[in-house]
Symmetry: C2
Amino acid sequence: MYFLWLSQLCRGLSRPLGSTTQPIWGSVSRSLVLSSQRRIPEFSSFVARTNTCGELRSSHLGQESAASVKKILCEAPVESVVQVSGTVISRPPGQENPKMPTGEIEIKVKTAKLLNPCKKLPFEIKDFVKKTETLRLQYRYLDLRSFQMQYNLRLRSQMVMKMREYLCNLHGCGYRNPKLFKRTQGYGAKEFLVPSREPGKFYSLPQSPQQFKQLLMVGGLDRYFQVARCYRDEGSKPDRQPEFTQIDIEMSFVDQSGIRSLIEGLLQYSWPNDKDPLLVPFPSMTFAEALATYGTDKPDTRFGMKITDISDKFRNTEIRFLQDALSKPQGTIKAMCVPEGAKYLKRRDIESIQKFAADHFNQEVLPVFLKTNRNWNSPVAKFIMEEQRLELTRLMEIQEEDVILLTAGEHKKACSLLGKLRLECADLLEMRGMVLRDTSLFSFLWIVDFPLFLPKEENPRELESTHHPFTAPHPSDIHLLCSEPEKVRSQHYDLVLNGSEIGGGSIRIHDAELQRYILATLLKEDVKLLSHLLQALEYGAPPHGGIALGLDRLICLVTGAPSIRDVIAFPKSFRGHDLMSRAPDSVPPEELKPYHIQVSWPTDSEAEKS
Amino acid sequence: MYFLWLSQLCRGLSRPLGSTTQPIWGSVSRSLVLSSQRRIPEFSSFVARTNTCGELRSSHLGQESAASVKKILCEAPVESVVQVSGTVISRPPGQENPKMPTGEIEIKVKTAKLLNPCKKLPFEIKDFVKKTETLRLQYRYLDLRSFQMQYNLRLRSQMVMKMREYLCNLHGCGYRNPKLFKRTQGYGAKEFLVPSREPGKFYSLPQSPQQFKQLLMVGGLDRYFQVARCYRDEGSKPDRQPEFTQIDIEMSFVDQSGIRSLIEGLLQYSWPNDKDPLLVPFPSMTFAEALATYGTDKPDTRFGMKITDISDKFRNTEIRFLQDALSKPQGTIKAMCVPEGAKYLKRRDIESIQKFAADHFNQEVLPVFLKTNRNWNSPVAKFIMEEQRLELTRLMEIQEEDVILLTAGEHKKACSLLGKLRLECADLLEMRGMVLRDTSLFSFLWIVDFPLFLPKEENPRELESTHHPFTAPHPSDIHLLCSEPEKVRSQHYDLVLNGSEIGGGSIRIHDAELQRYILATLLKEDVKLLSHLLQALEYGAPPHGGIALGLDRLICLVTGAPSIRDVIAFPKSFRGHDLMSRAPDSVPPEELKPYHIQVSWPTDSEAEKS
């Protein structure tokens, strides 16, 4: 007995069934599951169906059953659900399709029954049929039938399952945490509030289980992990979801290298088998090096175009704006070589690059085109001495037809600018047909030794945590904590994949005094909100640390999906709306009474502002 | 290298280490994991520790390392965290403790380091030390170190992991659903609201993923399961949590028997190996039979004391109140036999039983004490004919020293009363030392054929869904839907364990017209709120059904914990408070602005009312 969504079946059964949802479902699961070398799930256990048609192969040839009833199948609309019994037979010579697993066979139908008809579809369910995302989200239950969504979601749940096996069965982690919590330090503004039945009392939906997982360690649970749903109320940030999922891990008696090895093993174990296996350990780089070489803390290391400091080479240059830069304290000159830039980049590309630099960094960028190494084509070419030219060529491995981008200024600013331009140029070069980044490559990288504190933007004299206030200082910098806190490195680590941050964590502070000093004295925060955590640390808290991986982004990169919304079954629109059920929705005032709240409607003027 | 919580270590290392958290942790996990016949998790992978001391056995005897530093260990307070290196040696003769896995050995300490001291504990961390639940919840991170909590949480996460293996790896289920949703039909009052950044717009935290899982089936995902966090705002109900966890399952092309087999297989597969294996299939019983025989829809079938209808035997009785009952339409006479009641039940027990019946059911209950079968001791004994006596004795298998409880009235009411009294008497008999219910017994039972609708309490002329409006009617009763809807049975099924409902589900309506008819015409509900679901059913929705198991209650029954709070790491108090972090908490008005809400403080009079 076969159950399937009817799709062009009426055009005759010799047509590949592969394009109906049910069959694809079958075949996706098969291929994925086989490739992941685990017991093949039974998709027809507990149901009347004997096979999904995607499962049928020439091995099923001639399986017993009987014939006819074309009428039902011809009259049933596309995407209707039908129940079919029949015989699996070979396709007529010449109609086989070797490209499809089901391509050798067709079904000679004996009985057919229309289980549920489908009314006219808002769009054709084909991956190649373009549809607006709004339409896709509004009819998500139809969009989910597409091959790509079925593939993404199945791969997601299989990767997660293998992560669970690795963490639970192999390394003894477990447990889940509550979601209704107390407002947490600092993040307040970004949290979702949940009114309780007590007047003026609110829960909040935590942005991460950070505090609970630390408390579990104090509770002697030793190893914790959960696939944690987290909530962040960020209004309409593109490619962010108000609720997102992270693989959340915490361990007692662990150090940085322990967590890193655990994560490397985790990703290696759960990595889809239709991709090249991962090589571990992943390389690691200090924050300082990442900034100096790639101008960012999440470098895409799939390609070069590294930033070079050429200050020394231009100590006595005649180029005015370079002179000015070097004359200033911490003035530097940085250069980046764009391979074959002279061939691929147009004049207007350079102009837009210079405009970007001026607009966003208030920086000057100087291009140098290399027709040949002898002939540098640039407004400042004549000021570049032969010896400088040879130096640079050697230092930056400059080739003919490259373009060098020069800029000058304060180290961090100059690097950040070139870091941005590096990605800009990469996109441009690829747009123009150059193959720069290997899309089949997964380039993981650990970033370590972040500064523990950063100067506050609004008031640079005060400090704020680079990550969060529970991060432990680097052992070798502890002595600087009182004297020069801004110089203290942290025991935080980020995991970067192809230029996206997909995870981060740290060794935590387990000493109550140190935690209190950092919160109260250095960060000037109100410790009352965290008294329960500070208190817990006083009762024999073990040294501990952890990490969280952003699952949505990870799966997004693994599947190559354009948006995280393509790896989530029912995502919110980028405005945070559920376009299918139309949430959030209004609530009549009387139904707000039990929660002791009322809506404060903005005045017109406020409404205009927002 | 060993890391452990110090507990009485200062009294000399010959004392069993088993009473420190770390060791117990080790030993619990060990025993559980071994018994569950899966790869033993590695508890010291990725950390500097070589062993938790609970792992140490005589097989470790003489393992290399060095000696001394008693001072640190003697001065460190109980429950401090220490790092110890040393040699595992045999205990001195006579000090072995065969009852403990670690009982043959002790550690000759070479080096010891105090990693984190513990200040004076609010209570001693011993299972036998009684503490108020308030204190336990306030210091949950200490309570979690107790043997029992470690056992409960570990067993929970291992059972859940095995459920995942069964559902994902063996039967191809997967996927997760969003939590921020639209308010759902009917339940509104019980939902948590989440204010959005749009004036007057609210999300809600769903009480169950019901709609999403049905939409996944329409989306062709065929088999769904998730360990779903659900939210129900019930104020202060004892042994209910505002957030709870359910094993949530939905399948396409499935019928009742399919779901039942799946669940039986699931529980059998995930059942702890230190318990007797489960026998499947579980017995099943119709709702009507459960009511008639046990006076409830969740009978505890670990013991008898069934209800018997003896109306026929008393057609022409002279006992007045029985006469009256029979004279009324649907009048019945019911009897229940309390084994050895004459021996165990005191006069005042019977009186309190009669009072309960009068107070809660406005019913009369007549006791008959059987000294011997010849001599029935009861106010009405003389009205019970010899032949009736023999009839009853045969029918109810009455023995000497039993007590019969007689009542009369409308079927449902009389049964419900005796159902309550059955449990009352069971408790009384056990209190008096009788062994009635085998506590090691797990007695599963399916209840089926519930009525699809019930008359509304406030207005019995109107109908409401017995469970929820998506439940499909029983195929053989469809013809009654228009004429006598109250007679229609549903395709809902409940799973009962030892008298507690631990799960329920149904085959769903997949026909849009039928769904609309039931919502609009029979239930008089506003279909607008569900338009997205109704619309989805029109696009070729497959026949589908599902079930949800209450995980907290299930684990509670398996572990024999007194409260579900004992199987949740960080539960809320029965008032819904987090006593550790003191949530819910107040929020200053200015921080409510972004959510466009303000608190409406109750007037004194209102405050008094609530």
